[in-house]
């Protein structure tokens, strides 16, 4: 059940893909870290334990064919400190997680305060992806199904789905959870 699988490694990084339109002259806008109406109040990220920022970027932009201007990351511990404990989704094996407010959090996401909470927003830091060589993207794209299913990208296999029964593949680390 969602909400019953908290992440416990405080050092684990959580990667967020930032839409290119949410970048202006290198400054990322707070919109990048706000759930959309489809997100049901839960911001989606991918787990650092399953993929590096660069790998998550390649996966997102090549396999899912979605736009990303780069990867910003925050640690599990930083989320916990902000009363936004990250939890795993039903994605088997879990490589997509969501940040969800605890019962005591009043600032997320109903009010716009989320976008201005400095220790949430400012905790996110860029982790590259802008300089990933194109060859790397091609290499990932052309990995065999066996390779993808055995390692970092095995979450891309059949049955990967949003916890609310949405369509499977595009729901991983993208809408409705970005």
């Amino acid at each position: 059940m969602e909400g019953t699988h908290p992440l416990t490694d405080g050092d684990e990084l959580l990667h967020r893909q930032v839409h290119p339109s949410f970048l202006q002259q290198g400054r990322v806008g707070s919109q990048a870290f706000r759930p959309t109406t489809k997100d049901q109040g839960q911001l989606s990220v991918s787990r650092g334990a399953m993929a590096t920022a660069a790998e998550a970027f390649i996966l997102y932009t090549t396999e899912l064919d979605l736009p990303s201007g780069g990867v910003w990351s925050v640690s599990v511990a930083e989320c916990g400190a902000q009363d936004l404990p990250p939890i795993r989704t039903h994605c088997p094996p879990p490589s997509a997680i969501r940040l969800t407010p605890s019962s005591t959090s009043t600032a997320f996401p109903a009010t716009a305060r989320w976008n201005g909470r400095p220790n949430c927003w400012r905790s996110w830091r860029p982790l590259g992806a802008a300089s990933i060589p194109r060859a790397s993207a091609q290499q990932v794209r052309h990995r065999s199904p066996e390779e993808r299913s055995s390692g970092l990208f095995r979450c891309m296999g059949d049955g990967v789905g949003g916890s609310e029964g949405r369509n499977s593949l595009p729901r991983f680390c993208s809408s409705p959870s970005r």
Binding site: Q24, G116, S174
Partner: protein, 154 residues
């Protein structure tokens, strides 16, 4: 100013010559930046966010907001904000001023605007609302933003 060597991916590899160094204050934009950004935002089409969601921004509303910001910048020293689209077709203006983060969520059709500010150091904050398309609303925006730059607090 200088001369740099770039690779095939347009990544800077090496600075060959350095002629001049100018200190640029982070986060400071000018009117030219505003114009460039306006064109970028106008170019967004329906579905820009993920192919499905992402409403195009109201073109006339964008132009109106841009004109207002430019006017307030020149007349009232309002700092040029960073501008971002929202998936529901609104416009988010943001300023990073010292330890303060300010934002204005602008409805491009009505001009209705929600203001929010928070101090990263103290978590102190303030919010409000106004209509950017009215003189009173523009005055309120200037007061909201410049109170941070001039006094360091709201």
């Amino acid at each position: 100013m200088g001369l740099g060597r770039y690779d095939a991916q347009d990544q800077l590899e090496k600075i060959e010559e350095l002629h001049d160094v100018t200190l640029v204050e982070a986060g400071q934009l000018d009117v030219a930046d505003l114009g460039v950004r306006l064109e970028e935002l106008k170019a967004l089409r329906q579905g820009w966010f993920d192919g499905e969601t992402g409403d195009a921004l109201n073109q006339s509303g964008l132009s109106q907001v841009s004109s207002i910001i430019e006017h307030l910048h020149e007349q009232e020293e309002l700092p040029i904000p960073f501008l971002y689209p929202t998936p529901d077709g609104a416009l988010q203006a943001e300023w990073s001023l010292g330890s303060w983060e300010l934002s204005a969520a602008i409805d491009l059709t009505s001009g209705d605007t929600l203001l929010d500010a928070v101090d990263a150091n103290t978590n102190a904050g303030k919010d409000g609302s106004m209509n950017l398309f009215t003189p009173g609303g523009q005055e309120a925006l200037v007061k909201f933003v410049t109170s941070v730059t001039r006094k360091g607090s709201i």
